[in-house]
C-alpha cells in the first residue's frame, strides 16, 4: 500500500495549490457574494488544463487519473467552494461520455469538455424524480432520425451556463428503469430552454436551474449508450459524481479546519489563546481526524475507479461520510469562532450553510446508506 503521489501527480498538485492560493482563495468570498457565474475562474481552469484531467490526451484531456482529479478538486474546493462545485458538476457530463460515448461522440462532445472550451452538466432530477431516479418523466419519442424530448429537469448544476448536457429520459415508461435512455443535448437546440434558477441557502453563484424541453428534437446519434440503457448511464455517472461530491466536501471541511486553527491561536480569552484550552484542542483533533478519514475514503474510491474495480459501495461510503464530516467540521469551526463565526466577517458561517448541500445532492445521505446497506447485506449473507 502506497499513500504517496507519483512525481507527475505531485507536480500538478503543487502547481494547482499555488494557483489556488494566489488566484482563487483571495477572491472566494467575493465569488460567492457576486451571485453570478464565476466565468473568470472557469476560464482559468480551462487555461490551466484542469477541465479534463482524467480524459485521454487523444481527446484533449490531460491523460491523468481520477485520483488526481479528486486531489485537484479538493484543492479547488478548499480555496473556492463555488469553483470546486462547478468543477465537480462538469464531470457529470464528462464521465458518461467517457464511459459510454462512441468515437464520434467523444470527438464532438468530449473534446470541447476536456479542453474546457465548453462546460458540461447532467440532467436527471425532476420534480417527481429525486431519490427515486427511475421515476423520470421527461419523455423521448422516436421520430425518424430524431427523438423528440418533452419534460422538465430541476436543480441542474451549471444549468444555463453549460453548453453540453447529458439528459436522462424515459423512452419506454412501462419498463421503468429498463426503459430509460440518455442523450447528449447541446445548448441552443430548438425546444431546449432554461427556467428558474433556484435561490438557495448557499452557493449563490452556482446555477441550479430548470431545463425545459418542449418538442426538442435531438438527433439519434446523440443517444448515449444504448436505447433503454439510460439507467445504467445514470447510475455509473452518479458513481463518479459521488466521488466528486465527496471531494468537494473534503475541500470544504479542510477550509473550515484551516480557518479555525489560526483563529484559535489568535483569539485570547482568560489571558490565553483559546487553542490552549482542551475543549478547543479536542474539537480540532476530531475535525482533523474526520477530514483525514473522509479524504482517505474518497481517494480509495477514486483509486478503485482508476483500477477498473467496482466502486459503487466505496463511492457511496465516501460521499456519505465526507458530506456529514463537512457539516460537522463547519459547525465546529463556527463554534470555535464563537460570535464572530456567526457573522459574515468570516467565511465559516458560509461553510456551514454550504456543507448542507453535500448531504443532499448526488443522492441524499439516506440514499447512500441504502446503497451501502444493499451491498453489505448481500456480501455478508453467508
Amino acid at each position: 500500500m502506497d499513500f504517496t503521489f507519483n512525481e507527475d501527480q505531485q507536480a500538478v498538485l503543487d502547481a494547482v495549490k499555488e494557483f489556488c492560493d494566489e488566484e482563487l482563495a483571495p477572491r472566494a468570498q467575493e465569488c460567492d457574494e457576486a451571485g453570478k457565474w464565476p466565468a473568470e475562474n472557469v476560464e482559468k481552469l480551462a487555461e490551466l488544463d484542469l477541465m479534463g484531467i482524467p480524459v485521454g490526451e487523444e481527446y484533449g484531456g490531460l491523460g491523468m487519473d481520477f485520483l488526481t482529479w479528486s486531489a485537484v478538486g479538493e484543492e479547488l474546493s478548499r480555496a473556492c467552494t463555488t469553483t470546486g462545485a462547478v468543477f465537480g458538476a462538469h464531470m457529470l457530463a464528462l464521465a458518461p461520455i467517457m464511459m459510454f460515448g462512441t468515437d464520434e461522440q467523444k470527438e464532438k462532445f468530449l473534446r470541447p469538455l476536456a479542453t474546457g472550451e465548453k462546460v458540461g452538466a447532467f440532467g436527471l432530477t425532476e420534480p417527481g424524480a429525486g431519490s427515486d431516479a427511475a421515476a423520470v418523466a421527461t419523455k423521448a419519442v422516436e421520430d425518424g432520425d430524431h427523438y423528440v424530448l418533452n419534460g422538465t429537469k430541476i436543480f441542474i448544476s451549471n444549468g444555463g451556463e453549460a453548453e453540453i448536457y447529458v439528459i436522462i429520459t424515459t423512452t419506454d415508461p412501462a419498463r421503468g428503469a429498463r426503459g430509460m435512455t440518455a442523450f447528449v443535448v447541446e445548448k441552443d437546440t430548438p425546444g431546449f430552454e432554461f427556467g428558474k434558477d433556484e435561490k438557495k441557502m448557499a452557493f449563490a453563484s452556482l446555477p441550479n436551474r430548470e431545463l425545459i424541453f418542449t418538442d426538442c428534437r435531438v438527433p439519434k446519434e446523440n443517444v448515449l449508450g444504448r436505447r433503454n440503457a439510460g439507467f445504467l448511464v445514470a447510475m455509473r455517472t452518479l458513481g463518479v459524481g459521488r466521488i466528486g461530491m465527496a471531494t468537494g466536501a473534503v475541500g470544504l471541511a479542510r477550509a473550515a479546519l484551516e480557518a479555525a486553527v489560526p483563529y484559535s491561536h489568535q483569539r485570547h480569552q482568560f489571558d490565553k489563546p483559546i487553542s490552549s484550552f482542551q475543549a478547543i484542542q479536542f474539537m480540532v483533533a476530531d475535525m482533523a481526524t474526520e477530514v483525514d478519514c473522509a479524504r482517505l475514503l474518497t481517494w480509495r474510491a477514486a483509486w478503485m475507479k482508476d483500477q477498473d474495480m467496482p466502486f459503487e459501495k466505496e463511492a457511496a461510503m465516501a460521499k456519505l461520510y465526507a458530506s456529514e464530516v463537512a457539516s460537522r467540521v463547519a459547525t465546529k469551526a463556527v463554534q470555535i469562532f464563537g460570535g464572530y463565526g456567526y457573522t459574515r466577517e468570516f467565511p465559516v458561517e458560509r461553510y456551514m450553510r454550504e456543507a448542507k448541500l453535500f448531504e443532499i445532492v448526488e443522492g441524499t445521505s439516506e440514499v447512500q446508506r441504502g446503497v451501502i446497506a444493499n451491498h453489505v447485506l448481500r456480501e455478508l449473507n453467508k
Partner: protein, 261 residues
C-alpha cells in the same frame, strides 16, 4: 525574434537567515523560488511571443538546483532553458555575473532582446541588467512597465518616481522589467508535465570560452564586509489605564529617554 530572459533563483525572502560566522545566506531548508520580478520578465517575453512569434530562452547562472527555477520558467511556457553551473562561478558579484551572462548571450548568438527583472530580492542591487548591456555594448532600458518591439525597434515605458518616460531604442537591447508590468501567468498542467521532462542545456565556463579571472570570486571586486538581518523589534511597553494616567506615564517614559520636554 530571439528573446533571452535572465532569471535568478532566490530563497523565499520571508525565510532568509544569515549565518553569523560566514555572513552567508543559510539556504538549507529554505524554499527556493524564481526571483519574483524575473517572473514578470518571463511573462513579458511570453506576451511578446504571442504578439509576434518569438523564441524565448531562459538562462540562469547558479548551483545545479537552479534547474528547478528554469523548469518553472519552462512550465510558464518558455521554449528553451540554459543553466550555467560551474564551481568557478561561485562568489560572483554583479560584475562577474554580468560577464558570465554576456558570455552566454554571445554563445547563443543572434539575440534580439534580453529581458531581466529589475533587481533580485536577495542582493537587491539592480546592477546585473545594466551591467549586461554594458558588457554587450547595446542599449539598456531599466524599470520598464511595458515593452513593444517592432521592426528592429523597441518602445518601452519606464516607471520613475514621479513620471513615466517612453523610450525608443534599437534592438538588440537589454530591458529590465518592474513588477507592475504584468501578472505572471500560472503554468498550465500540460506545460508543468512537459517542463518536468524537458532537457535543460547545461554549460560550464569552459563552454563559454570565459576568462576564469573575470568569473566567480576572482572576477568579483565587491567585498561583502558583513551581512546581518535587521534587528528583531522587541515588543514595546503597553500602557494601561485612563487617558490621563497613560499620558503621564508616556511623558515620563519620553523624559527618561533623554528628550527635552
Amino acid at each position: 525574434m530571439n528573446i533571452v530572459v535572465c532569471i535568478k533563483q532566490v530563497p523565499e525572502s520571508t525565510e532568509v537567515r544569515v549565518d553569523p560566522e560566514t555572513n552567508a545566506l543559510i539556504r538549507e531548508g529554505v524554499k527556493s523560488i524564481i526571483n519574483p520580478v524575473d517572473e514578470n520578465a518571463i511573462e513579458a517575453a511570453l506576451q511578446l511571443r504571442e504578439a509576434r512569434g518569438s523564441h524565448v530562452t531562459v538562462v540562469s547562472m547558479g548551483p545545479p538546483q537552479a534547474e528547478e527555477a528554469l523548469r518553472q520558467a519552462l512550465a510558464m511556457g518558455a521554449d528553451e532553458a540554459i543553466l550555467l553551473s560551474d564551481p568557478g562561478s561561485r562568489g560572483s558579484d554583479t560584475l562577474a555575473t554580468s560577464y558570465a551572462l554576456a558570455q552566454i548571450v554571445r554563445k547563443i548568438g543572434d539575440v534580439d532582446l534580453i529581458l531581466c527583472g529589475k533587481q533580485a530580492i536577495d542582493g537587491d542591487t539592480g546592477q546585473v541588467g545594466p551591467g549586461l548591456a554594458e558588457r554587450l555594448g547595446i542599449p539598456q532600458v531599466t524599470f520598464a512597465i511595458s515593452v513593444e518591439a517592432e521592426n528592429g525597434k523597441l518602445t518601452a515605458r519606464r516607471v520613475l518616481d514621479d513620471f513615466y518616460e517612453v523610450i525608443e531604442v534599437k534592438l538588440p537591447a537589454v530591458v529590465t522589467v518592474v513588477k507592475q508590468a504584468n501578472d505572471p501567468r500560472h503554468p498550465s498542467m500540460r506545460n508543468v508535465l512537459k517542463a518536468k521532462r524537458a532537457e535543460i542545456t547545461k554549460w560550464t565556463l569552459a563552454d563559454l570560452d570565459a576568462d576564469p579571472k573575470q568569473a566567480g570570486f576572482d572576477g568579483s571586486p565587491t567585498q561583502v564586509v558583513r551581512v546581518w538581518p535587521p534587528e528583531k523589534r522587541s515588543g514595546g511597553r503597553k500602557l494601561d489605564g485612563s487617558a490621563d494616567a497613560i499620558a503621564d506615564e508616556l511623558a515620563k517614559a519620553i523624559g527618561e529617554m533623554g528628550l527635552e520636554s
